[in-house]
Amino acid sequence: MNIGFTMMNHLKKRLTSLLVTLVALTSATFANAAPVPATGWGLPRDVSVDGHKIDWLINATTFFITILFVIMCIWMAAAVVKHGKDHQAEYDHGDSGHHVAFAMAISAVIFLVVDGNLWFNSTIDVNTTFWNYTEAEKHPEAVRIEINAHQWAWDARYAGPDGKFNTADDIVTLNDIRVPVGVPILFQLASTDVIHSFSLPNLRIKQDAMPGMINRMWTTAKETGEFDIACTQHCGTHHYKMKGLLTILKMDEYKSWSDKMSRIHARGYDPKDQAAKWGWAWKKADTNDDGISVEGKPKSAALAPERSQSVSLAPEARN
């Protein structure tokens, strides 16, 4: 009897230390993962106005699942330690009414609290912010950019002062996208060849660029600086090099840059050069909510015919 008690006490101590270790380990892991941009650990620096909503949900998720995971580990460890082979097992099928009710209740509570929370918040964020193009389009100073992805670079097109795409004053850049801080930046994305994904990790958002359809994406920057544009969809041999530069400028800097660029581009504009007209009429916010573009299809099929050369990339490139 006495021995039994001593053992129980011993086990309790071990259990406590196990618990402490686990909690410490878990929190250490997540502390490590907290933003330390300089070292590359944790989320990259957030320079968008709305990115904090995503970060908040990520943290909320981390919070909830850490609790659940720690409970699970402690439960398992405690069972292994306490109810080892010397313990007399209890004969219990666990299917009595109150057992079942208990399991259902726990699951329901977890579902409502954890999943319900995430679903609710995410739905709001998606509808009011991330996929709410209508709101963004309304902003008088919103900047519109068309992106045409191809192996392995990003073409960007700005409408220029006339606000129309495919005209003489368009600004066209390669892997170099400049945007002003503080106003919505609207992207429309297409691809010449394969599927790419236009990702701005520092603004927490990405969207696929597909051949044959036009996708949309928008964001607002809150800080100036230079950041990476990444391709996140495997797109062939040099996928890893498909990197662009996003420069976030103050509004006046942006204005003077864009004015200068459209003057330069107007000077070099050749109306007979069909290949240079890869853009499309800006897709209105309220059309084709399924994202599958009827009108976009023939247009993007006509994207840059000369590109088809660049796509026959492969035999040599794949060595």
Partner: protein, 601 residues
Amino acid sequence: MQGVMTPADIEAAQHLQHIHETPKSFVKHYVFSIDHKYIAKQFLWAGLLFLFFGGMLAMLIRWQWAYPGEAVPVVGNLLFPDTQGAITPPTYNTIFTTHGLIMIFFAITPIMIGCFGNFCIPLMIGARDMAFPWLNLLSFWIFALSQALVLASFCVELGSAAAGWTTYPPLASQVGTPGLGQSLMVLALFVTGVSTIMGAINYITTVIRFRAPGMTWFRMPGTVWGLWLTSILNALFVPVLGSAGLMLLFDRHFGTQFFLTGAAGGTGDPILFQHLFWIFGHPEVYILILPIWGFVIDFMSFFARKPAYWFRGSIYAMITVTVLSAVVYGHHMFVTGMSPLLGQAFMLLTLVISVPAEILFLNWLHTIWKGSIRLTVPMLFGLGTIFVFGLGGLTGIYLGTISTDLYLHDTMFVVGHFHLTMASAAFLGSFGALYLWFPKMYGRLMNPFLGKVHFWFSTVGLTLVFGFQMLAGYAGQQRRLYDPFQYSYLEGLQDLNRFTTYCAFALAIGQLAFVYNFFYSLFAGKRASQNPWELGTIEWTDCASPPVHHNFDRIPVVYRGPHEYNHPEVLEKLGRDWIGQTEEFDPAADAATSDEVAATA
């Protein structure tokens, strides 16, 4: 109806399945065998071979992420003589593509479903063989053909497939990925799909028709349930992949344009491929986990020496997941330009899966709680499975939520998530099963010490490798990068990636404990008794180790569920903590329960 056992029923069961002669010729016995146990072993060997192959590819990927573009040590010069041992970008693409495909379709599937499906189902439900032994034979040899196609794809000009395991066109088209290799790989997928479906037809029919008298649905072990539900998903969704693969092949070779548009020329629609792929792909991830859940339900009960807690609840949960798995696939396509409404529906459905998952977890934990846990090697692997699957399943929540997935999609976070759920859980679960059933398969015991070494290396290794991969993804590292450090925001992740690679190497080295143990035990292991683990399921109570060719001289009669441990009366009267499903014990009471079960079934 199976529960009411009239003598006529029992007699009829004896005749439904004939006793096949033990084959005398070498070829019929060892090559073109129709014996489910032997076919199981064939699948095991074929799968283990490719598991090794896929594992080596994984090591190459890890090397590349730790030391991008530097010569691979030891084997580099042998594998890549043209570049003095360094991996080039096209080669790298081939490596990660084939790693994924080989592991999923040619390693885990044959081991978990081909081997244990074949071995366990007939033995555990009390059948003499599969319903269609010839189809079973065909299923294996067609699978072998698909493996041959995989190997062939490496030998052609331009090498094997390189468009990622998801094989999205237009990248997977002739323009994006030229060469015969990609086609051979897609063909191999189609062929292996045919084999999988043949297996599924057999498993589904066998369970419906060949359960021994008294083996009601809820007396089937969790293992059989898991494999059966998986077979249903296989039968329904593998053909969808087959169809998509066929159309891709048509596009590649017959000039059609299902998925071709833009520069690839045509007016097709590549996004429809993604729909088809994920209509298959999401069920596929559950195909690879349901048998593991079944194993875990059983292992927890077997070695906690306690009935499986709310067994019916677990089964209902698995059935719910099977159904739900068909309607959540859209969560793989949140950033393809999906309509917000559809996105939210998929998000909700995805999150709903956590309800049955929680029930399963609660039942596993309750099963071992207040048990009498024997930390045998299969039990350790079972507990390890719960651990990694818990981690992986919980991190799925980040991905099922649209707004967080906007950031995490296509990063290493996804890779970590699915390796924990699918790869690690399937790996640990399958090895647990191998340690458990090895004595029944080969009649010899495996060494428990080496088994434990293997367990610790594997569980810790898998957790660290994929945990760190999630951290890398959390910091923004995309998947499938030849050199992640081209990006300035990822420069700081070099140390993390290197350390992960060392962990992966340790994980690989730990597998040697298994390799040695496996071969040693095969030839020189201690002879196994009929029931070395003291379990109550039919294969242990009614079959020798290894079983005779036709399994049972008389088809056994089943009296109770698979998890009767520490029943007080049994303990008192028989002096042991277990009782077999087929053991006659207090026949009156047994008959009563069987009627009761029959009434509810």
